[in-house]
Amino acid sequence: MSGRSSAQRRRNILLHAALAPLALIWLFPLWMMFIFSTMDDNGIFSPHVVLTPSTHFLENFNALEADTGFIRATTISILVATAYTLLSVTLTSMAGWALASYRFVGKGVVLATILGTLTLPYFVVVIPQFIMVARDFHLDNTWFALIVPPLFNSLGVLFMRQSFAMMPSELFDAARVEGVKEWRIFLYVAVPLARPTLAALSIILFLHSWNNYLWPLLINSQPAMMTAPVALGSLIGLTKVSWGGIMTGAVILTAPMLVLFVTLQRHFIAGISAGAVK
């Protein structure tokens, strides 16, 4: 008995001895992002290894604001991500409800098209999207361009469809017998029941929009309509630029998502695992 438990102890020690250094390596870049955001450029490029915070965060923020107007860019990002999330959740849960609840002409075609094109690389659509939005309709550098084209994302449709399909249909049939209209059944019976799925989906969509880089880079290149990642990216590679400022921007982009992740970890993980199982 004691032999077995000591073997188990050894295994436990081994487990932590393997994971702890790896975890430190993984945390290192995030920690340094934070440290660099508090250092001036002399500190960042000094010959000494410094792993503790300094006092230049506000200075760095001012440099960043002077370089790119980061407050405006961040405001644009917040508004775009919020609008995108609300619209996408609304559109995809309605579509998911239709696919889960009714038989209708063309259902097979709709489902097959969504599933069949799900894993196509985004690059296949980005060129025509750009030509259409920027060249044909001259809608580049608008809110429309930032918010509407990315709404094509069909992951939410499948996610919501699955959630609605798993609900007992007697629930809805009982309401139908009472003569309740379909849109009321959807809004007042089905949607409240789907709250956990809606939460997971909203978080993933918000994160997706908040971090989106390529499309906003292509379509909104004027400084006045840049999102925060595009504004920050425009500084990377410039020769006369404050690295402390860039790291401050990186922290501002990252920290809120980390806080969300820690507080809503369950929903994040549900969303990511579902996103993969799409």
Binding site: M32, A98, R103
Partner: protein, 285 residues
């Protein structure tokens, strides 16, 4: 379930309009564009300027080769690491589980630009990685100006960013394996290591294959990392990927036809490599 075509389309139409306008139509349009010479004022049918050019363009060959090198090295390392991580994180004996999960899963929420900026600074010639190498008496490495080292930085950055993401998916797979499978094996005296190789891995195969396929599709479209970390695919064109090549052709040169041909090549390769993986990993009875 009742036949209610009208009701169904009332719910579906708003999404379908967006889906058709910004997904289905571009897929078709881009295929058509890939046969057009878009460098003249009037776009004319001339596949020799697009598909024909792909075959002889050394810059495309270089981008293709770089992408495949990253794919072949990075994806296996990351998937193996993610599998090990998921297994260790799933261990009931693990203490401070929350902290470990945070360490490995946090990169999932970090945006491309923020993490690219950070890795560019970490691996700067005068950056902290070189300072630490020098500190322990090793020679410093010109990370971003040496072609091979720059590739290594891209691979390291990608692994940092995506290992946790894959571990989350594999962990979900692990947690769906019923406990009693292991209890029986433990009673029969099968060691934990043998249990991992002969029970866990085979049961996880579908999930791991899924991770491989997702990673292949992602790697084929690699753009932000070489764009931002190695400064537009540098040094020279040493880290130029297919995604970056497409960006240059489409949005610097505005050669939409050629860029569309590249886009469809990326799609075809992603599908082909994914199918190859699924075929290699199929059940053999």
């Amino acid at each position: 379930m009742r036949q209610r075509t009208q009701t169904a389309y009332a719910f579906l139409t708003p999404y379908l309009l967006i889906f058709l306008a910004f997904w289905i139509w571009p897929i078709i349009n881009s295929f058509w564009l890939s046969f057009l010479n878009t460098r003249s004022a009037n776009w004319t049918f001339n596949p020799r300027m697009t598909w024909g050019r792909l075959l002889v363009d050394p810059a495309f060959a270089n981008a293709l080769q770089n992408t495949l090198v990253i794919l072949v090295i990075q994806v296996p390392i990351m998937i193996a690491l993610a599998t090990v991580l998921a297994t260790l994180l799933n261990s009931p004996a693990l203490k401070v589980r929350g902290l470990f999960r945070f360490a490995f899963f946090a990169p999932v929420v970090v945006g491309e630009v923020a993490y690219a900026a950070m890795f560019r600074l970490l691996f700067n010639e005068f950056g902290i990685i070189n300072k630490m190498l020098a500190g322990i008496g090793l020679t410093t490495i010109p990370w971003l100006s040496d072609p091979n080292a720059a590739m290594a930085v891209i691979i390291i950055a990608l692994t940092w960013r995506w290992a946790g993401y894959n571990a989350i998916i594999i962990l979900a797979g692990l947690q769906s394996i019923p406990e009693d499978v292991y209890e029986a094996a433990t009673l029969d005296g099968v060691s934990k290591v043998r249990q991992f190789f002969f029970m866990t891995l085979p049961l996880l195969k579908p999930v791991i294959l899924l991770c491989v396929v997702l990673s292949v599709i992602g790697t084929m479209q690699l753009f932000s990392e070489p764009f931002l970390i190695t400064n537009r695919g540098g040094p020279g064109q040493a880290t130029e990927t297919l995604g970056l090549f497409l960006y240059r052709q489409g949005f610097n040169a505005f050669n939409f036809g050629y860029a569309s041909a590249v886009a469809y090549t990326i799609a075809a390769l992603a599908i082909a490599i994914s199918l190859l993986n699924l075929w290699l990993g199929r059940e053999r009875e």
